[in-house]
């Protein structure tokens, strides 16, 4: 991270250096990169944090790459950002370069593949020229060493807490994902810092990535929106755009592309990207800290605090969850499952203990 900053900046300009490549915010071992603070502006309060969530290889990084810079109409989006050998990705979509490096270093194949299997190892960020803070995270149901879904939980909790705008990249509707998001919503810290708006939630935008022809059909889109409404309505996440009659679910369909050209079901890539950028960047920004001097570096502090809190919280809840799950199966095993002895005894002891306090 420090090298990035050094490489990018030193222009002698005021404020932080411009970023040319992303910097790790969270290492894969959970450590927080406090050095990244110098990349944030101390006084600028006009910034938007955009995070992305989604399953593995659903195209999260690609979405952020589209947002990373404004490009003109002749830009070869496919060649530079989408193609398997895309070369101008801010957030790397394939770890080809890494693989090649490792190959050149003659590293054991096993290790190389290990690193390949992890797409985005940690939480990375990139600040655009327009001061959009892009957060790229690990995937939803990442294959974890621990079989539980909770390691990613901490990250989702975090993104829910610190983002202004959250893109949810989906290529299918997975109940597991919704459940995970729901859990993170419930378990996320209420107010990590003092001036934080309790119950702040980011604006949600659903992006159907890798969409096929049929996904552009109005009937399908209607059906998709309806499903999203059903699944997410109760969560309380702000996920609509427009007002009154025009109020619709904020969803976007991004096709699986094979070239820059338009096809029968979608316009040319430049047009798609333009529309996507417009939709994301003009989204209403709900501030998580209403004070007027909530600057980038203050946001960074919030991020650090949230990380700490989310980690400890998720660990705490995880242990309870594991415990409960274990006990549940135990109780089923021990033949007493029918009258649910285990359950009642737990609750009874809990309720008794506070009665005894009196």
């Amino acid at each position: 991270a420090a090298s990035t900053a050094a490489a990018a900046g030193q222009d002698g300009m005021l404020g932080p250096p411009r970023m040319t490549r992303p910097t790790t915010l969270l290492m894969s071992n959970g450590a927080f990169n406090a050095n990244a603070r110098k990349l944030f502006h101390k006084t600028n309060t006009d910034f938007t944090v955009i995070g992305v969530l989604g399953a593995q290889s659903v195209g999260k990084s690609t979405l952020l790459n589209l947002l990373s810079a404004e490009r003109d109409a002749n830009y070869d989006y496919y060649g530079h950002l989408f193609a398997p050998d895309a070369d101008e990705c801010i957030f790397s979509t394939r770890h080809r370069s890494k693989t090649q490096q490792q190959q050149s270093q003659q590293q054991p194949q096993q290790q190389q593949q290990q690193s390949k299997s992890r797409r985005t190892e940690s939480l990375q960020f990139f600040i655009t020229r327009e001061r959009f803070v892009l957060l790229d995270s690990v995937s939803f149901g990442k294959e974890a060493e621990e079989q539980q879904e909770l390691p990613t939980l901490s990250l989702i909790m975090q993104l829910l807490s610190v983002c202004h705008v959250l893109l949810l990249a989906v290529d299918e509707l997975s109940l597991e994902q919704v459940r995970l998001l729901q859990t993170a919503l419930r378990l996320r810290p209420r107010s990590p810092i003092k001036s934080y708006v309790p119950g702040h939630l980011p604006q949600l935008m659903f992006v159907r990535t890798r969409a096929q022809r049929q996904h552009f059909e109005p009937a399908w889109r209607e059906c998709f929106d309806r499903q999203l409404t059903l699944l997410f309505e109760a969560s309380g996440l702000p996920m609509h755009r427009g007002r009154g009659e025009a109020r619709v679910i904020n969803s976007f369909v991004l096709p699986l592309v094979r070239s820059n050209a338009a096809t029968c079901h979608h316009p040319e890539l430049f047009e798609l990207v333009r529309e996507f950028r417009e939709r994301v960047l003009t989204m209403q920004r709900i501030s998580m800290c209403p004070s007027h001097d909530f600057s980038e570096s203050l946001w960074f502090d919030l991020m650090a605090e949230t990380t700490r809190k989310c980690n400890s919280d998720s660990q705490h809840f995880e242990s309870i969850f594991g415990d409960i799950k274990h006990r549940h199966f135990e109780s089923l095993c021990s033949k007493s499952w029918r009258n649910n002895e285990g359950v009642t005894s737990v609750s009874a002891s809990a309720s008794n203990s506070w009665r005894n306090d009196a």
Partner: protein
């Protein structure tokens, strides 16, 4: 693959043309189940097998499609479950509103049922996965399956199926689980090594996960499922493009064709081509041809799901199915049942009925306990998340409650309770998350409220100052007590004391001052003006009509019984007062002729006993105090008063005065003789029987609040809320030093000065001036001239009076200060100018003013005392204060306005708490600087002046009392 080389039908009906084919296979039929995830609208997971249903069906949960390809020994069963996106979507769209948790449970439960059936009727189960990675949530599914299978299914199946059971445990074997990943990760290399390595890696992680959770065990009989030991069980579809969009392909082809530039080949080429025997001759076969023979291509051809599956099918046919499935060779006899189609179909039908169909029939009940449990409460059994959430809420509730109890003091009020509850709720929400938090919060509220009400509740009766009583509610307590202590001075202002927050008007306006009077060595000495108070005629008296609104008054009544009786003793004094009032009524007409009275209730009372007496044993000089001292003595003893009457009472006329427009000079005009005569007569008549009293003032009902101008004279208060006392001679005040601490304690420095007020009075003799009067006045004037009073100058008949006035404010912390204008606190002598007092006297003074003391700005000082130092002139200052608070204008409540004796220091103490007939008027919470009067005000024009009647005692007072001039 050849199209239509297989049969497909919907389970359970077997088409007639297939049945014989299957029957031919006899015992060598292997059943393969295909279950898992799919994204397409047909929910078809058979694409990798290059199969699809012959007629498009709408996918639905629990639907089973059978596929049989002749010559393969395998019957493929395609299960449609809630893991198919199409099925799930369909179910989702059926909902109108969604409770996600329960929906998720429901979906999972349905899948578990389908999976259970599949595990029972198949030899091999292929789990199809659309994402390139293993879905870890499947482990949970397997865990749940295991428990259902072990705890429920194994219990009821033998009972329900009896002898018809397939195999030992109602299943064909420990089914072998294979995993088919439809999509190979796009960024992995598509080489043989890479694919194999990837497959191996996935296999390893799956195996480890399943072992870790005891889903596969060493014992094939007790294992839910089996993984082959030495055979590949993970297959990645790396080459085939499944479910291509045919329409799109066609369109693209068309586009390409249409946009294809004309093939204009080089002329050379054309020449060469012309030599060719037919078109296309010597054109290369292309990549495909070259790669055909390569190892890679060979692998590609062999790497198909059919090949993959066939290896496992062969295992089953060979009977070495289970032997290879477990790492160690187990001592248990492996059990693998191969059945012919007919038998299998029979068995599977009954299992299908048991495991799937009955569960979907609503209200289906079985006598078998465990089966009934499986049917009705499977969801509940599987649901450990619910437990997790409720556990969190319970934990939170526990913490919240202990937080509340920990922080709760012995006794506390509602606001404290709310605060504690809010804190406890935060603590609860810190831990308690999820759907049960609402209920937990409610519960917390209940528990805490109960805890609070269980002997920890405060009485919380609000004091008159708005502070709640802090006594425990349970224990009956004589007196409310808010614990708030004010510092307040006594009537005379000399002694400050701690005053408990008043709960009754009597406490606030009377008892405290009585109490202080007994402790103050000045208060005991001063003689006070007696205000008219209620005198009960019988023991049954009550508050007039307002008691419902003021229960606290009733309380105080009960307690104050002795005080009330004490007041009865004052009745005699009161009687005379009433008589005078009576008399006053008769006089009213006359007075109306003489001068217009500004207010109807301030009618000229007569001979109110002015009991202001100065105790001469004060430690102060009495020089120049002669007159007033004597006057005080006069009033003390009736003998002297009669004497005075003979000497001074002969002064037959009072000076009626009218405001003179010329500056501050006032004209006092002497009155006519006849008036006096009349008055004398009426006075003679006034010794009436007390029967007449009842008409005037009720003796059975008293005024619950303070006297105000519209309260009438029929109702009198139980006790005086005001106090008027002469605290010493005028010399007690020195304008050089201001009020000294030993005399008036608690004054803020600089704010302890009275304001000098010069009043010019011209005495005007009436035409028919009685000789006596003239004689007397000259005599008096001579006397006065002789004494050369400091505060009284006579120039002809003009008299210049110097009065000192102070409007004293007191805050509840005991700070006292004078004001030099309605919006300014007096700060030292420099503030005092010639016309300063005019501002104070001629303006409405605010009842409340922010105390300049440091600390919170919310401390409001209240106008509590009015200090008057009367001049040494033959005039009496008359006080008629009117306090406008809300809709009420409160007055002293006496018919004869008090006349202040000459050359004396008088202090009028105002009520501490104002109460109208039925409403308490609380001081404002905060005063805005621009609305300083919003809390109430003392109306301007409270001072009057009248020429001295030396004997304005009982006998002669009525002669002059009616004529005073409002200053």
């Amino acid at each position: 693959m050849n199209y239509r080389k297989y049969y497909t039908w919907q389970y359970p009906e077997t088409p007639e043309d297939v049945a014989p084919l299957l029957a031919e296979l006899k015992e060598s039929l292997v059943i393969v189940g295909v279950i898992g995830r799919s994204k397409c609208t047909q929910a078809n997971k058979m694409c990798a097998f290059d199969m699809e249903p012959d007629v498009p069906t709408s996918p639905s949960d629990g639907q089973i499609q059978c596929y049989y390809k002749p010559g393969t020994n395998t019957l493929l069963l395609h299960f449609q479950t809630t893991h198919d996106e199409a099925v799930m979507t369909k179910l989702l769209l059926q909902q109108t509103s969604l409770q996600f948790d329960s929906f998720y449970e429901q979906m999972r439960c349905r899948f578990v049922r389908s999976m259970l059936l599949a595990l029972h009727i198949c030899h091999i189960l292929v789990y199809v996965e659309t994402s390139p990675t293993f879905d870890t949530s499947l482990v949970t599914i397997f865990q749940l399956l295991k428990f259902v299978w072990e705890q429920q299914v194994q219990e009821f199946l033998p009972q329900l199926l009896g002898d018809d059971m397939m195999g030992e445990r109602g299943r064909l074997c420990a089914p072998r689980m294979l995993f088919l990943f439809e999509n190979y990760p796009a960024d992995e290399e598509q080489t043989r090594e890479a694919i194999s390595a990837y497959e191996f890696r996935t296999e390893d992680s799956i195996y480890e996960l399943l072992r870790q959770h005891n889903i596969i065990t060493n014992n094939p009989n007790s294992s839910l499922l089996a993984l082959p030991n030495n055979k590949q069980f993970v297959f990645f579809n790396a080459y085939e493009q499944l479910r291509p969009d045919h329409l799109l392909c066609a369109i693209e082809q068309l586009q390409q064709t249409m946009l294809k530039p004309d093939a204009k080949e080089e002329e050379e080429d054309l020449e060469i081509l012309a030599l060719a025997p037919f078109e296309g001759f010597v054109k290369p076969y292309g990549e495909f041809y070259e790669a055909k023979e390569s190892e890679e291509q060979l692998y590609r051809e062999q790497h198909t799901i059919w090949q993959f599956l066939q290896r496992h099918v062969q295992d089953a046919l060979d009977g070495c199915f289970d032997r290879g499935s477990f790492k160690q060779l187990s001592p248990f006899t492996a059990q693998c049942v191969l059945m012919n189609y007919e038998n299998w179909h029979k068995e599977s039908t009954s299992l299908h009925q048991l495991l799937l169909q009955n569960a979907q029939v609503e209200g289906y009940s079985s006598s078998n306990v465990s089966y009934q449990c499986y049917l009705s409460s499977l969801e509940k059994c599987l649901n450990y998340e619910r437990k997790f959430w409720s556990q969190l809420s319970e934990l939170g509730l526990k913490k919240g409650i202990s937080c509340y109890k920990h922080a709760a003091p012995a006794i506390y009020g509602n606001s404290m309770h709310q605060q504690l509850l809010a804190d406890a709720k935060l603590v609860l929400e810190d831990e308690g998350r999820g759907p049960y938090t609402e209920a937990a919060l409610l519960k917390l509220g209940e528990v805490c409220a109960k805890f609070w009400q269980d002997g920890r509740q405060q009485c919380e009766q609000l004091s008159l100052r708005g502070n709640p009583c802090t006594q425990p509610k349970e224990l009956p307590h004589e007196k409310h007590c808010s614990g708030v202590v004010h510092i307040s001075s006594c009537n005379c202002g000399r002694t400050q004391g701690r005053r408990e927050d008043p709960f009754t008007l009597r406490q606030a306006n009377y008892e405290y001052y009585e109490h202080m009077a007994s402790m103050c060595n000045l208060c005991v000495k001063v003689k006070k003006f007696q205000f008219p108070i209620f005198a009960p005629s019988s023991s049954e008296y009550r508050a007039a009509a307002f008691e419902a609104a003021f229960p606290s008054l009733l309380q105080s009544k009960g307690r104050d019984e002795p005080a009330a009786t004490a007041e009865e003793q004052l009745q005699s004094e009161l009687n005379s007062q009433q008589v005078e009032e009576d008399e006053r009524k008769q006089q009213q007409q006359l007075e109306a002729e003489e001068e217009e009275k500004p207010q109807h209730s301030l009618n000229n009372g007569c001979s109110q006993p002015l009991s202001a007496t100065y105790g001469s044993d004060l430690n102060m000089s009495i020089a120049g105090f002669g007159d007033s001292l004597r006057e005080g003595e006069v009033e003390d003893s009736t003998e002297i008063s009669s004497q005075m009457c003979s000497s001074l009472g002969t002064q037959s006329s009072t000076h009626s005065s009218q405001s003179n427009s010329s500056g501050s000079e006032l004209v006092l005009q002497l009155k006519h003789d006849t008036v006096i005569d009349e008055c004398c007569e009426s006075q003679a008549e006034s010794t009436e029987p007390p029967a007449q009293l009842n008409e005037l003032a009720s003796t059975t009902e008293y005024l619950p609040g303070l006297v105000h101008i519209s309260s009438g004279c029929e109702l009198l208060p139980l006790f005086p809320s005001w106090s008027l006392a002469c605290v010493g001679p005028s010399s007690i005040y020195s304008h050089n030093t201001g009020l000294q601490e030993h005399f008036q304690s608690g004054f803020l420095s600089g704010a302890n000065f009275l304001l000098p007020w010069d009043v010019h009075v011209r005495l005007v003799q009436p035409h028919k001036q009685p000789q006596q009067s003239q004689q007397h006045s000259t005599q008096q004037q001579q006397q006065l001239n002789h004494k050369k009073s400091q505060r009284y100058r006579k120039q002809g008949d003009r008299v210049a009076l110097k009065i000192f006035v102070g409007f004293e404010y007191e805050c509840s912390r005991g700070h006292r200060f004078m004001m030099c204008s309605p919006d300014r606190v007096l700060r030292g002598g420099a503030d005092i100018e010639r016309d300063t007092c005019i501002k104070v006297v001629n303006n409405n003074m605010p009842l409340y003013f922010p105390c300049p003391c440091r600390g919170q700005s919310t401390f409001l000082a209240q106008l509590m005392r009015i200090h008057v130092v009367t001049p040494k002139a033959p005039v009496n200052i008359i006080l008629d204060p009117k306090v406008l608070v809300g809709k009420y204008t409160f007055t002293l409540g006496c018919n004869i306005l008090p006349r202040l004796s000459q050359s004396a220091y008088w202090i009028l103490r105002l009520p501490n708490v104002y109460q109208g007939d039925d409403m308490l008027i609380a001081p404002p919470q905060k005063l805005e600087t621009d609305e300083i009067m919003s809390g109430g005000c003392l109306l301007a024009g409270m001072f009057g002046i009248a020429e001295t009647d030396a004997a304005d005692g009982n006998e002669a007072g009525q002669l002059s009392g009616l004529t005073f001039t409002r200053l």
